[in-house]
């Protein structure tokens, strides 16, 4: 059990490349923290610094409040599951799992090596494969061996580097659930690197979003989704991702109106107030904020507003459908959007709006349709700095606080279960 504290961590590689820049992060005991970000943003580097495989250029790493910058990997007592498993090919599954125990010998108190290996193997359903060599195992089994090697030891924390990235979708889902359960039942501090949206959202107590080595926001998945600090986080979290529309704010006869390329959207005056004095803003609208106006509840209707647009095409998926609205941005906005796409390591952001509509909607592409948009949840971003002008920090903090309470409850429940079993 351990808390991990990063204080202004900087990593400059030998060739001068600043891979991690001034990252500060507090990871509480028993917490499950996810590191996400586009490829090359420094996630692995950060993890390797925590575990001691990479020198820290400046800043301080503390484990349980003790400075650990200079400690050798073996003295940090952390277990890591490598991105490529890194199993020992000359050892059987049993010996792979037993490897850390054999090294520690008497350092690990209580229980024989065999007992511990058998227990880990049972938990990971590897019992019948214990005598086999890693080369003869399937990808998922290898991954479980790697997990086994990590959990068999009473490590202070688990570090996972994209452990599921090479598995197929089904196995990934299964392993994701297993990891979540395992972490809760062991209650061990965990840091998990991924660039899979689903893993980030479902596994993490808190998610840290990195961009080019700079920490953007650390918060519960809900807060990241609902109260992102800037354009990057807003665009990176969520799939399909948030739509960004250039807009000018005009005071019309019917109140404040956002004039966007897809139509004029009336918004509450208090939402618009933050954009005072800016001639151009970016409006962030998640696809599910849209709905076919004819299908919206009477009760819900006043929370948003209705505008008319034309869908260019429609994808019906059964449980919902995606409607696309294309628009022509001007040069400046186009550049802004493509920069953002490059940052997020995404494909070129097409100048189009994705809307998620109910499956029963009968709207047809190529004709003007009435769409309702939930204006109470849209965000307005400063196009220059990318800052979220409408972020409600308090509401966000509340969401994260709730997630923390939830975690406490789950950990307590897990401890109770353990106590009952023992």
């Amino acid at each position: 059990m351990a808390s991990i504290t990063l204080k202004n961590i900087v990593k400059k590689y030998d060739d001068g490349f600043p891979a991690v820049n001034n990252v500060s992060l507090d990871i509480a005991d028993g917490e499950f923290v996810i590191l996400v970000g586009p490829s090359g943003c420094g996630k692995s580097t950060l993890l390797r610094m925590i575990v001691g495989l990479e020198d820290i250029t400046s800043g301080e790493l503390q484990i349980n409040g003790r400075r650990m910058n200079e400690a050798a990997p073996k003295d940090r007592n952390l277990a890591m599951v490598f991105q490529n498993y890194a199993l020992y090919p000359h050892l059987t599954v049993y010996e792979n799992i037993a490897f850390p125990l054999r090294l520690a010998k008497d350092a690990n108190g209580g229980g024989s090596v065999d007992e511990k290996v058998q227990r880990a193997a049972k938990m990971l359903e590897l019992t019948e494969h214990l005598d086999r060599k890693p080369a003869n195992l399937s990808g998922g089994q290898r991954q479980r061996v790697a997990m086994g090697r990590a959990i068999v030891r009473e490590a202070d924390a688990f570090l996972f580097d994209e452990p599921l990235s090479n598995l197929d979708a089904k196995l990934r889902g299964q392993m994701r659930a297993e990891i979540a359960q395992l972490q809760r039942s062991l209650g061990v501090t965990s840091v998990y690197v991924t660039h899979d949206q689903t893993e980030a959202m479902t596994l993490g107590d808190r998610v840290a979003v990195l961009k080019k080595g700079i920490l953007q926001q650390v918060a519960s998945p809900r807060e990241l989704y609902e109260q992102p600090v800037n354009l990057f986080v807003a665009g990176f979290i969520g799939s399909p991702s948030m739509n960004f529309l250039p807009a000018t704010i005009t005071e019309g006869s019917g109140g404040t109106v956002l004039s966007t390329p897809i139509g004029d959207i009336p918004i509450p005056a208090d939402r618009a107030a933050v954009a005072q004095g800016k001639d151009l803003v970016l409006v962030g609208v998640r696809p599910e904020f849209f709905e076919d106006a004819t299908l919206v509840d009477e009760a819900k209707m006043p929370k948003g507003s209705v505008f008319t647009a034309e869908l260019s095409h429609l994808e019906w998926l059964g449980h919902e459908q995606y409607g696309y609205i294309e628009f022509e941005p001007d040069e400046k906005v186009r550049r802004l959007l493509s920069d953002l796409a490059a940052d997020m390591d995404a494909d070129e952001l097409r100048p189009q709006v994705v809307t998620t509509l109910s499956a029963e909607s009968r709207v047809r592409p190529g004709r003007p349709v009435e769409l309702w948009v939930d204006t109470s949840r849209i965000h307005i971003f400063d196009p220059e700095s990318g800052e979220n002008l409408t972020r409600d920090a308090e509401a966000g903090a509340e969401l994260t606080r709730m997630a923390a309470e939830e975690r406490e409850r789950e950990l307590a429940a897990a401890r109770e279960r353990d106590a009952q079993k023992a």
């Binding site: 490598f82 199993l87 350092a107 991954q143």
Partner: protein, 296 residues
């Protein structure tokens, strides 16, 4: 799986699959046998000859009429004993020393090539390849003169050094290729698992590298063991003359007998260590031991 539970179609399918499998394996057997006969016939011929008496040597038959061990007696306890046994001792000693030195040096060199980034890495590899391509025969004469003037002629070091020029390049190349395949992240994984750098090297890297080192050692040993040109040119007495060269100095029991039988017997004896080595280390020579360490 029991046949009773299969429907006729399934049984037929299985039979067909088995037949197809048998056909391919028959093909393999034919090829294997052809190759084996091709390679082993000369050996078998020498083996048969080694049991012939001098009188039978030119009777045109493959097998000896009444096998005798006289040739072996001749070289092991008889007249040629001194010549053969000292040559055997020279061959073993010189080859082992040359192999050991080559493997130790090549391991260090290949480790550096596989692990470190240093200027001139390419040059090291290219130069060693060039050395191995140099025709041996063009080196012999200058070496002969040089060795005579500095006193290495007809000594063990006088052979070990030129043997290194044969064994080192191939050892460096094989080992470098082998080391490049070792997943070095394993070393880091071991350290995270609680090993000191030295433990990580000993418990993870050494076992993975060992097969490569073994294979290289065996190849190097064979090269040194089989050499003839250096052996015959740079030695003059039993002090350093290795077996392949010594064979040429065998004489028959009398002046009028040809030494073919004795030479055959000696050839069989020197083949034995080679066969033994391969059989003993067959397991170590298998490639692909590193598979399964990392994904993809």
């Amino acid at each position: 799986m029991s046949t009773e539970t299969l429907t006729p179609e399934e049984a037929e399918g299985q039979r067909r699959a088995r037949r197809a499998k048998r056909n391919t394996s028959i093909g393999w057997w034919v090829i294997t046998i052809v190759v084996a006969v091709w390679c082993l016939f000369p050996v078998a011929s020498i083996l048969a000859t080694s049991f012939k008496t001098p009188g039978e040597l030119s009777n045109g038959k493959f097998l000896p009429d009444n096998p005798s061990t006289s040739n072996y007696e001749e070289i092991l306890v008889g007249d040629s004993q001194e010549l053969f046994l000292s040559a055997l001792w020279n061959s073993i000693g010189i080859s082992i020393i040359a192999t050991l030195i080559a493997v130790v040096l090549a391991t260090l060199c290949a480790y550096a090539i596989a692990r470190l980034d240093f200027p001139g890495k390419k040059i090291v590899l290219t130069v060693s390849l060039m050395v191995s391509m140099f025709p041996v025969i063009s080196l012999v004469t200058p070496l002969f003169n040089l060795w005579r003037s500095i006193g290495l002629y007809d000594t063990w070091p006088g052979l070990i050094i030129p043997y290194l020029s044969l064994t080192l390049p191939i050892a460096i190349w094989t080992l470098a290729a082998f080391f490049q395949q070792i997943p070095w992240e394993l070393e880091q994984a071991a350290q995270v698992d609680g090993a000191t750098p030295l433990q990580a090297f000993r418990k993870v890297i050494v076992p993975l590298a060992a097969p490569g080192v073994f294979t290289t050692a065996i190849i190097a040993f064979f090269i040194a063991w089989n050499d003839f040109v250096y052996g015959i040119s740079l030695t003059s007495t039993e002090a350093a003359r290795p077996v392949p060269a010594a064979l040429a100095f065998f004489t028959g029991a009398s002046q009028f007998e040809s030494p073919t039988g004795a030479i055959s017997a000696a050839a069989i004896i020197v083949t034995i260590p080679v066969v033994l080595l391969v059989m003993l280390f067959q397991k170590q020579i298998v490639a692909g031991l590193t598979s399964g360490a990392v994904k993809g």
